[in-house]
Point group: C2
């Protein structure tokens, strides 16, 4: 499959590109508003994966061009850019494209990080599902993965990626991609209306990392 | 220490009583609105712990009497009874008593379980903290523990109990109790304003247990 990582020059995109590039044989395309930056990132990722998986394919392009022909499009952008990124690429999305939403909206004060819902009390995953063209399936996942640890390819994961989706076939396709990544397990948390509880874990993970000695870049395991 | 488990005849109280009774040397008091039921439960728990820890102490009494002289008072009651239980026992609470809030408010529909905040968008832990008399420290924890698994004493846990508290000394006291339970680890998630993200995990755990083969009575590990 061809997997586009929009905003793939950021932390989450970097981590996902390196792990997917090393552990799966999917073609990866890094998307960015700046195609030159996307191409430079793709070269960098490919070099870092190289020692592990010589056959890896990582290209770079504009978000819109990266979306063309992609089977899975990951919105690895900050939460405030999820909807405008979808709008910028929507002409290249159809019902055969699975859109993946990993973004989480958070606020921060002296006590720590706090989960914030998007407009109208929705999760970001639900906001993405409303913004895509009709019949384009949206899958929420990767919310709770520590980006730096993904990017450190010599680090073991042993983590869960909870999936929310209204389209079960799309959930299964994404779960199969996740299962190919060493140390990641996909678990199904139900429809997109259950995304709030998945997204909420992300600020908690940051709070735990800040407030406990020896906990940094933590993820979650349901056990 | 003397630990009162108010509403301790329910699932959460049962699991906590059995684990604390087996693994620690604290005196336990089961509280209930019905003192006779509390005493029968205490006898049952003591019998079940017996084979593991002969020295265990488990008594039963009314919620109010159980609170008298307790160092830690756990509100193991349904979320809708947290505030009225505090009111019923508040005469026996002072700044030396630590009140522990494990309750989570949830709704349920065809999609699964959903986290609900208490009144005024607060967590149940925050609602408990507002309901106790001035200077009584409140600690939120035990939210994400699977009650049935706690009660099955031959089952290993390997789980985390996230703690939220504004009073760090109280948090440390409760963390030390948790650390004595085999297979439980206490992690600090910050002040009570961070309780929402901890409580939110509970409906997610139920959704995961319902929707994934082989996952039942799951808890969480931050790793």
């Amino acid at each position: 499959m061809r997997i586009a990582l929009l905003g793939g020059t950021g932390d989450v995109g970097e981590g996902l590109a390196l792990r997917l590039g090393r552990d799966t044989d999917h073609e990866l395309v890094i998307g960015s508003r700046d195609p030159g930056k996307a191409r430079r990132c793709a070269e960098d990722y490919l070099e870092r994966i190289g020692g592990f998986a010589e056959s890896a394919t990582v290209e770079g392009d504009s978000n819109r061009a990266a979306t063309e022909g992609a089977d899975i499009v990951v919105l690895a952008v900050p939460p405030e850019h999820v909807v405008d990124t979808i709008e910028a690429v929507s002409g290249a999305l159809d019902e055969e494209t699975i859109v993946v939403s990993p973004a989480v909206k958070m606020s921060r004060d002296d006590d720590g990080f706090h989960y914030e819902r998007a407009e109208a009390e929705k999760s970001i995953t639900a906001a993405a599902a409303e913004a895509v063209p009709a019949n384009v399936p949206v899958v929420g996942t990767f919310h709770n993965l520590p980006a730096k640890r993904l990017a450190a390819l010599d680090t073991e994961l042993g983590l869960d990626a909870a999936i929310v989706a209204d389209d079960e076939a799309a959930a299964e396709t994404v779960a199969a991609v996740i299962a190919d990544v060493e140390g990641l397990r996909a678990v199904y948390a139900g429809p997109i209306s259950n995304a709030v509880e998945v997204e909420s874990i992300t600020p908690l993970l940051i709070n735990l990392a800040v407030k406990n000695d020896g906990m940094h870049d933590v993820g979650v395991r349901f056990t």
